[in-house]
């Protein structure tokens, strides 16, 4: 039957298409599993297609760069749009925005989160958040996925080792490279983490 690759149409894309303020942010956790390809990713080299097809997983291609990610009900998707950005360099947006995510996690009692690679957040050497950017003329669309409680087996099941990787990954397989917040903070809930992030990002907006 084959797998259909669709354009990214998840809720956060709305803030990209309908910007009426200088910038907006959007946080949500998906209702089911989605696999999201980066702009130049190909399904056959990014995914284990047999498993994806068997489990009827939806595959989408997002407008921003980077490697393939998985969205599940145990992840949080954090997106933001900046219109007429004053700062021109994307890495400064990664740094600024990810700083506010670190602050939001601190509000929820999650410590020891640090910047890694170009645009990741990690606990120790293990990744908990990846982000990417689409810069279109007058606006920047930032898009991040935070692994709150998803098991690494789910990632390993569907996603191949990426063709490009940050230096700090050092060739590690998903199981040795990725972690989730609940592995380190088992008592934290999705709602608690979301509340902390919203508080921090409101401060960023204001």
């Amino acid at each position: 039957m084959g797998i259909e690759l669709k354009e990214y149409d998840l809720p956060d894309i709305e803030i990209f298409h309908n910007t009426i303020k200088d910038y907006k942010f959007h946080i949500w956790h998906p209702d089911k599993i989605y696999l999201i390809l980066g702009q130049s990713n190909k399904m056959e080299t990014s995914l284990f297609l047999d498993k994806v097809e068997l489990d009827e997983i939806t595959v989408l291609k997002r407008p921003s760069g980077g490697e393939t990610v998985i969205l599940t009900p145990n992840t949080l998707v954090i997106s933001a749009v900046f219109v007429n950005p004053e700062v021109k360099r994307p890495h400064q947006y990664f740094a600024r925005f990810n700083d506010f995510i670190i602050k939001g996690l601190l509000i929820s009692g999650i410590e020891n989160v640090n910047h890694k690679g170009i645009s990741d957040l990690a606990i120790g050497e293990k990744k908990i958040l990846g982000s990417s950017i689409y810069h279109k003329k007058d606006k920047i669309f930032y898009h991040a996925v935070l692994n709150v409680a998803e098991s690494i087996e789910v990632i390993e099941k569907y996603i191949q080792h990426p063709k490009r990787e940050p230096d700090y990954r050092k060739g590690r397989e998903h199981g040795e490279f990725v972690t989730s917040i609940v592995q380190h903070y088992p008592d934290k809930s999705m709602n608690e983490i979301t509340d902390g992030l919203i508080k921090s990002l409101k401060e960023f907006v204001n």
């Binding site: 980066g38 921003s64 990664f94 645009s119 689409y134 060739g171």
Partner: protein
Amino acid sequence: MRYIFNFPDIGEGLDEGTIVEWYVAKGQQIKSGDSLVKMETDKVVADIPSPKSGTITAIYGKVGETIHVGNALVEIEIEGVSGAAAVEEAKVTEAVKEEGAGVVGTLEIAGNNAYMPASDEGTSETKEESQKSTKKVLATPVARAMAKELGVNIDLVKGTGPAARVMKEDILLYLQKNTVTSSKSNTVVSDEERVELKPLSQLRRTIARNMIQSKHNAAHMTVFDEVEVSELVRVREKYKSKFLEKQVKLSYLPFVLKATALALKKFKALNAQMDLDNNQMIYKNYYNIGIAVDTEDGLIVPVIKDVDKLSIFQIAQKINEISEKTRKREITMEDMKDGTFTITSFGSIGGQFAVPVINYPQAAILGIGRILKKPVVKDDAVVPGTIMPLSLSVDHRIVDGGETARFVNQIMEYLSDPVSLIMD
């Protein structure tokens, strides 16, 4: 004047990007700020706007191609500017490059060497400066790769392509002119039929990454030795048919695995890993041995877990299962996880000794060469013997020479007296 717009640094400090989509075509009228192309770097996709209004006269690169920062993206014909005015225009353009319309970071705008006036008037100064320029010469990716491969300084090659871009043919012509009398010249003349381009498979990329990681991070040291295994040959012959009755093939490998696992229990450093980030050694009290398997697609290393707790029959069963899974291409990530030591049995294909590359971050890898009949000395008499060659590579950061030699001795002791494998 004709203006060359180069691929700018879009802000990650990376030196290349991939073309995702072209928004313009040759002959199209554009305004300053119009998007020209969608480019992707590691984490960013960015629409690159034009810094000039005019007509597109050339676009460089196809969708999917990688372009280096500073290489030409498009040529724009700016109407009504020529000669001395064009030179002034170029100067003005350079002066305001930090304010390019919405482009992220600094625009790489045509320098003197890339500026192409509509006529030859007033260009002598420009040409002189061009010769002094240290900017990278324009070249197609194929030509650049070919020059690198053949050791040609591309800056010395005269380009015949658009905007004096160096083409593949220019490299070949340069070689013909400059290497005619060289004995190497016969080997470097190239045509398309003599090379085949094939995309790297995921497995080949993984192998490449792991090998480089090992060679970069581990301090490789290899020791070689030979063990006389006549008794092992006799034992194997005796039990081969009995195992076959239970549909299990018995090779020498189960004995080597068992001997290795038992030796690892005595020499823990060989089963360890160095954790520099936390300034500690990790000694593993489990003995999961990976077996390097040669497949059509490339090398894979499935792992047999807790080898020290398995009998020779159980190990042989596991090896048979791995062979079957490999044949059916059913080996999974789970089958290849958590190895603590690796064995590569290249002797079944050929060769006696090798310098195996450590399966990083493991501490060591043991290579088994082809088993041969050789004269050996026993009780002061030269008699026919059966020799198994061993090659052990260790990470010298983790293991010292003495311990390495003692570990090999222990394995040899087990293999020369296979009954000891069940006595320990």
